[in-house]
Amino acid sequence: MSGIEYLIQGFQVALAPTNLLACLVGVVLGTMVGVLPGLGPIEAMAIMLPLSIRYGPLAGLILLAGVWYGAQYGGSTTSILVNIPGEASSVITCVDGYQMTRKGRAGAALTVSAIGSFVAGTIGIIILQLFAPPLARAALSFGPIEYLAVMLLAFVALCTLGGDNPLKGALMIAFGAFLSTIGIDRIAGVQRFTMGIPTMMYGINFIPVAVGLFGIAEVIRIALNPYAPSPVKSIRLRELYPNREESRRSVMPILRGSFIGAFFGLLPGTPAVLASFASYSVEKSISPRKAEFGKGAIEGVAGPESANNSAVVIALIPLLCLGIPLAPVAALLLAGLEMHNVTPGPLFIRDNPTIFWGFIAAMYLGNFLLLVLNLPLVGLFARVATLRPQVLMPIIGIFCLIGSYTTRMAIFDVWVMIGAGVVGFLLTRLGFSMVPLVIGMVLGNILEDNLRVTIQWLNGEISLIWTRPIALTILALIPVYVVFIRLAGRKVLKSGVSD
């Protein structure tokens, strides 16, 4: 049977009532969870796990995966509307998305985000369908050095996001990196800066910090002057959707984001977060409208939102084809499958074609369902932005409080969120950008882990690097990337900026 025939069969299976229902429930729930700050796909999937067991392995898988990529869709909604990251990979969307809302372009941002997510998700599924086994083999050939090389490349790419003042940006990255070290060292097992507080042993949770730095800080800022008139008086239907210019500007970022996300999806850790940051960085670097980034550039929404969706889809490849969950969320999917006695792995596609192809078909379906669900809601959501602060702020405040509690069921996280809100508010007023801080927190962990594992691996023989062709290729890409970015930026400036 050829691939197409398998796929058609898969669709027939996916459209069976149970599976279809699982798909619907999954994506709706995922979107809801994504919208709610604090509650992320992991928690929602964990709650759904017992339910998913009641149905067959395919339905369970569809349900759980639907929650996962549905959350990527929903996470951007609150980021754009009220500057609150619904979950980690939506943090960067806050930056330009919220500024677009303040200019009255919330509908456009939401629409572009939904369409971008759909396109990227579909591209991701196509890649998965066609290239899963070879990509999985490639993932297996990545050892510690290769991962380190990729992270270094990512680090270089993300350095451009330091904000207007490189010194302030460096301060923030270093501060974020320090914060990421608090807790029990994952390698040596010793406590770092936990100051005797038991909850700190697990480190400072990222979500409450992100919600505080962006969302709560904004609430505080609005509290300073809640009576200011809003430029968004009413929303006409025409204004809900992106105008021609915005649509034109979104096309390439969406495509680029899809592939950037696909690349990061194969990496261990939290692929969607890195993917969204990387996409933002690339878009900002090669855009002729660099100065607009941070003030409402649509590329800053289109790119990252696409990247985080394709990353999630591609992250399923190591799980399905190797049986190895490289991302913590994938571990949950693995648990769901295992409870049905289905073990994913290199023999999975061969031994369980119905499940594999049914799942692929369900992903296409789910992606499409999400688009159909979200587009009409854009109008409703955009109107939320017109609520006056007296009504909006208490709603936001309570959801943030409860949300940050529910990440780990710890009151400590609520305090962290409030503290981060104060810090974010003060630092933003003084001209610091919160983006490098967040990058420092995310990358600090990852780079440190990869570097330490690599050093252990080398055991003093640095020359071993020369025996690793993949790693060398990636490292060689770093100067290539830097040069390319400079050239691309300069070329566009030279050719004149029209519009």
Partner: protein, 316 residues
């Protein structure tokens, strides 16, 4: 007369309702590891089986951190009424490790649903065909043979160091912060030379033929996999088992305790659970429930203590 009868019926009613009332609402279980991890899977599967016996659903909450210390801390604060339980793989050594000033004797131990040996695995392309070959090579080349393992203090790391100490060979320990899945990737991809892990994380790579098994750390050959030689029969007296244990806050009412323990023993000995263990290369002993389980934990702690001391994991 009628009044006395009514009152006594009423009292008997209360008596009976109390005894048979447990459990009358869902039971919360704190699994002290991340959702999707090996222990989480074991716990969820086991409690699925118990649910059928007990009749009440279990609400599973994941509270990872500090080798189960964080979750157990929360368990300690819960009411000892049988509606909050916990699952941990290290409850008896947390005091030694310095993560928690309590041992398993500060809890009511319900039972040990599962024990697992560790597998000594190598990439299938590895030149080592036996443990002996591996050990001799490692001794001749100290620090060169890469052993993939998990964070310091974690079960597989303890096993790896124990092996080092036992054989006198010095390995280059690659400590993976990500957990046992990364041992599977490193061995499967050939980035490390050897590693200790349980069967589950390695299963897909073993089935795909990327990983080969040199030995297993159980006393006798594992029932489901009779062609795995034990390390003991190869001359390396390494019998160490990882386990998962279910505990409750101390002070359970005696009837609740007895009920939980007897159901645990029943399920652990049931065909469904025994089949699960055989299929996953693990073992379950229904007698490890209640006080017997606590005694096993006593002994296990004493086995682990000298290892932990010698490898410097003990916090003074």
């Amino acid at each position: 007369m009628l009044l006395i009868f009514a009152i006594s019926v009423f009292f008997f009613g209360i008596l009976f309702s109390e005894v048979s009332a447990y459990p009358d609402k869902p039971i919360k279980v704190i699994i002290c590891y991340e959702a999707g991890s090996a222990t989480d899977l074991i716990g969820r599967t086991f409690f699925q089986h118990i649910e059928k016996e007990l009749g009440q659903p279990f609400m599973i909450v994941n509270k990872p951190g500090a080798a189960s210390a964080l979750g157990l801390r929360e368990l300690l604060e819960a009411k000892p009424d049988g509606y909050t339980l916990g699952m941990s793989c290290s409850v008896n050594v947390l005091k030694i490790l310095g993560h928690l000033p309590y041992t398993h004797r500060d809890f009511d131990v319900i039972g040990i649903p599962l024990l697992t040996g560790s597998i000594l695995a190598v990439p299938s392309k590895s030149p080592f065909q036996s443990t002996k070959a591996l050990v001799e090579h490692a001794k001749a080349n100290p620090g060169k043979v890469r052993m993939s393992t998990t964070s310091k203090g974690a079960v597989f790391w303890i096993h790896a160091r124990y092996f080092e100490r036992l054989t006198g060979a010095k390995f280059n320990m690659i400590i993976n912060p990500g957990g046992a899945s990364f041992i599977a990737t490193q061995l499967g991809g050939g980035h490390a030379d050897v590693g200790f892990a349980a069967y589950k994380p390695l299963q897909s790579q073993i089935e795909a033929g990327n990983i080969r098994i040199l030995g297993v750390t159980t006393e006798k050959r594992v029932q489901g996999f009779p062609n795995w030689p034990t390390l003991k029969e190869q001359g390396y007296d390494m019998v160490v088992t990882g386990w998962a244990g279910i505990v409750a806050p101390k002070g359970l009412p005696s009837d609740v305790y007895r009920k939980l323990v007897s159901i645990h023993a029943k399920v652990a000995g049931s065909k469904g659970w025994q089949d699960y263990c055989t299929a996953t290369g693990t073992m379950a002993y229904p007698e490890y429930a209640g006080e017997e389980a606590a005694k096993f934990l006593d002994q296990d702690a004493e086995i682990q203590r000298p290892i932990l001391e010698e490898i410097g994991a003990v916090q003074k």
